[in-house]
Structure formats: C-alpha cells, structure tokens
Amino acid sequence: MKPFVYERARDAAQAVAALVADPDAVFLGGGTNLVDHMRLGVASPDRVVDVTRLPFDRIEQLADGRVCIGANVRNSELAAHRLIRTRYPMLSQALLAGASGQLRNMATTAGNLMQRTRCVYFQNVTTPCNKRQPGSGCSAIGGYTRYHAILGASEHCIAVHPSDMAVAMSALDARVVVLGPSGERRIPLVDFHRLPGDEPERDTVLRHGELITAVELPALPVAAHSLYRKVRDRRSFAFALVSVAAALDVRGGTIADVRIAFGGVAHKPWRATRAEEILRGTDATPEQFERAADTELAAARSQPGNAFKVKMLRNTLVAALQELAGAA
C-alpha cells in the first residue's frame, strides 16, 4: 500500500476543503471497498479523510413524510430500522441480501453508493481495464463475463454496479444530498450513477470534493408493498447475477402504481421505466408481467458468458411481480 496521510474530518466543510485542496485525497467510510482497493493498488490516494465521525448517523422522518438517511448510517442499522422495514421493505431486504453481517456493520450508506465494480479485471492491476486506466482496453470483452452487463453497456466497458442497496433506492426515487465547495445539491439517485459510454472511469456524477451527507426517500405509499429478489451463485454472501427491486399497488385487479429496478445487469441500478409504463393501469396478470419484462429487455445485449441472464432476469421480474400481486 502506498503511504498516505490519515486525517479525521472535524466537520463537513473541512472535509470538503481537504479534498478540494488535494486532487489525490479521498473520503473514507467503513473502508470495506477503499481499503481493499488501496491494498490491491486499484486506489492509491495520498490523503485519506475519515468522515465516519461526522454527525450524519441518524434516520429521521421529516414532517412531509420523507425519510432522511444520514450518510454514515451503517448498512445493518438501516436494514433493521423500523421505518425502513415497514415503509420500504425492499430497501431493508436489499441491504440484508448484500455482503455479510460483519461487512454490513462497517459499510456506510454513502460508501455503499460509491462502491466500485467487482469486475475481476478492474480489481487486477496487471490486466488492461478502461475503468482503472482509461484507454488501456477492456479485458472483459471476450473474457470472463458471467457478472457483466446486459443493459446499457458500451464498447469501452461492460461492468456492472455491484450495490444491492442502490437498486432499491433507484426504485424508490431516492435523492442523494451532497455538499460541495459551493454549497448543497440534491441528485436523483436514478441520475447519480452513470452508464459507461466512452468515460467508464466515471462511475457517478459526483465531482471531486463533493461529500454525500444523506439520502432522502420520498413518502411513496406504494413502497410499503415491495420486495427485493436476488439471484446468485450461492445462497448467501455473493454478488447478484441479477436482482429485482419491485413495488406494486393493485386495486380491484388493476395496477394503480408500480416501481421496478434491476441490479447486477448494468453499469448503474437499472430503473425499468418501460416496464413500469406498460404496467400502470393494466391488469395484474402474468401475461402483462411477461409483456412488461419483454419490453424492458428488448434492449438487452449479452456477452457469450452471460446470455443466460436475459431469461433469468425476465423470470425473476415476473416471479417478483406475481408474488406481490398474489399477496396484495
């Protein structure tokens, strides 16, 4: 690991200033991704600004029904919180489907959003990778692609974003609250992560020095009837092959409201807006669920090693919606 200066941020403004002053400085959350990357040589900051003692550690319900999640709330606390379990079960389930008990005790809300791809070539500094070293090429194309994208990829990068939590937050229309050198801004979670295009080195729209302070969830009544389904190579402690976050409100057999997002299949949490459009106002039947899935997945482009994911995702979505409709 390259030597670096460790410093503990005194307050949010000072943390931002520390990064603005140093292009090679980074924020540190629970460390579960960053420390790993520093050891692997994937990240080599010269200054590490620990933000975990800043007072962003609460989950609060605001007067208008929104829920504000502090950036430092640990994944395990967020998953266990009563407000989250009852009003946004898909979020609690997504968190609990991710990583392990120990890692969830360490991982922060902000760090989880900012975690980087698990593409094996990205994590191995000896192989070409456009995301780690722009212009060096993509080793995954023509290589091992089981865990790679089937939606929204480019010829420069076919990696997926690995977070489960972010998939649920995408379906929930969450907003990321960010503090930068010129003040605060709010970024809709669906616009927070990027598709790779010709700049795969940029995972998100966050600028250097911008500090995530919170994530806000809208009141969103439909979310109370929601779930997260994750398909993986082993039953626990594995990243998603595909995953589905879905919320469904059926009234008298008709779909009044619906939210769907996919994980493990794109460079960002994939909000299935086409499927949602088809479903809103139609009958809650398996045929409609299948039609919605097929429409959303018409744009899917797979690699030789992950063609199975298209059908797997289709079936997972249909099963998730059927489960929600059956229990309605």
């Binding site: 690991m1 390259k2 030597p3 670096f4 200066v5 460790y6 503990r8 540190l28 629970g30 460390g31 579960t32 420390v35 790993d36 520093m38 050891r39 590490v48 620990d50 975990t52 395990s76 998953a79 266990a80 379990r85 609690s92 389930q93 609990l96 489907a97 990583a99 392990s100 008990g101 120990q102 890692l103 005790n105 360490m106 039953r235 626990s236 402690f237």
Partner: protein, 214 residues
C-alpha cells in the same frame, strides 16, 4: 507524535529509508527541514485503544496498518487470523464496541478511543464464553484456523439477534427466532475450509438457547 520521536523511529528502522517512497521523495528534495512534516508525509500517528480491557497508548502507528495487523503484529494477540485480507472469509472477525467487524478491512487509526474484543478477551477469566463452551462441546472445528473468527462472529451475531435485527431469511422481524436457516444466513461471512459447518451450526444453536444467554 513529536519530531524527536519520529527521529528515533527512523533510527530504529533504518530500512524505512529504502522502503518508503515518500522518505526518498522528501530527502531527494533536500535535507529534512522539519521532521514533523516528514512524519506527516510518511503517515504515522498516535492511537489510543482498549483491547480486551487493557488500555494501549500507541505512538508511531503507520497509517497503512489495519486493525488486524495492529492486533497481531504490534499487540501480539495472534488469535485473530488472516485468511484472505479482503473481507471474504471472516477469520479476522473481532468485536468493536460490541459489534462484529472484519479487522482486515479496517484501518487501525480509525479506531482511536474504541473498545475492541478479540478471541483472547471473550472468556471471563477461566470461565469460557457460552459460544466458546458450545464450540468445544460440539467439536465446532477441525484445524481451528477459522475458529477465533467464527466464535467472535457468533458472539456478535447472537447480540444482533437479541436486539431484534432481521436477516435476509427473517419472516417476522418482530420475532427473530434463530432457526438453523437463520444461523447459516447470519454466519455466511465466516468460511470454514474444513467444512465443519454442521457442528458450527449445532454449537451456535446451543449457545443461542436462553439458558446460555449472557
């Protein structure tokens, strides 16, 4: 840390000059004008932690040191194991302020002021922790390499369950019951190369019984 302390450290560890690129960069630019600046560049700091009830006031902790390496190499508590160093196996599990974490992915300097419990500190004197006793009773190990992590993890996990934290397989979060499926799911962050899982689950099931509750 003070400048004189850093000078001592550099003396005591001459090969730092050859290994440390920052030192090289710094000395190449001219003689050190301020040892404190060099200490800052090299990234060392003081650290105060309580480990298994004993207070440690440490100086000159390299910023790159993980909590696992600190515990093993500096405090010589070698019960916590390094299996993967990537958060994937759980052999390094310790309790920090009562919560289980992977010590291999945690920078030591982030723990200033924390209370840490390792496998060495779980028992109360000669009285084994209920999880330790249950592992003995059920042969919850073969080679024993994963065991300190398994036991610390189980101790933390039982507290989480008592506090009512749900898992991915929990049906009724208001009523957490530690079935075998729950134990397996909650312990999935601890791998055992010997495959002693059946006995590990039996030990934890036993330790979870109210009679054993601590």
């Amino acid at each position: 840390m003070t400048a004189s302390h850093f000078a001592l450290l550099v003396d005591a560890n001459v090969d730092v000059q050859y290994r440390c690129p920052v030192y090289k960069r710094f000395t190449a630019a001219g003689a050190p004008s301020s040892l404190e600046r060099m200490a800052e560049l090299y990234g060392m700091d003081s650290l105060h932690v309580v480990v298994n009830g004993a207070r440690y006031d440490l100086e000159g902790v390299d910023s790159r040191t993980t909590l696992l390496d600190l515990i093993r190499e500096r405090l010589h508590l070698t019960g916590s194991k390094k299996g993967c160093d990537h958060g994937q196996c759980g052999a390094c599990t310790v309790l920090v302020n009562g919560r289980r974490i992977n010590a291999c992915l945690s920078l030591a300097l982030t723990h200033d002021g924390d209370a840490i419990t390792t496998i060495e500190g779980l028992a109360g004197g000669d009285t084994l922790h209920p999880v330790e006793a249950a592992f003995l009773e059920h042969d919850g190990f073969q080679c024993g390499y994963c065991t300190p992590g398994q036991i610390c993890s189980a101790a933390g996990m039982l507290d989480e369950a008592r506090q009512g934290q749900p898992s991915y397989v929990t049906d009724d979060a208001d009523h957490v019951e530690l079935t075998d499926a729950e134990i397996r799911e909650r312990m999935s962050g601890n791998l055992c190369r010997c495959g002693a899982y059946v006995n590990i689950v039996a030990a934890i099931r036993d330790a979870a019984r109210p009679a054993h509750g601590s």
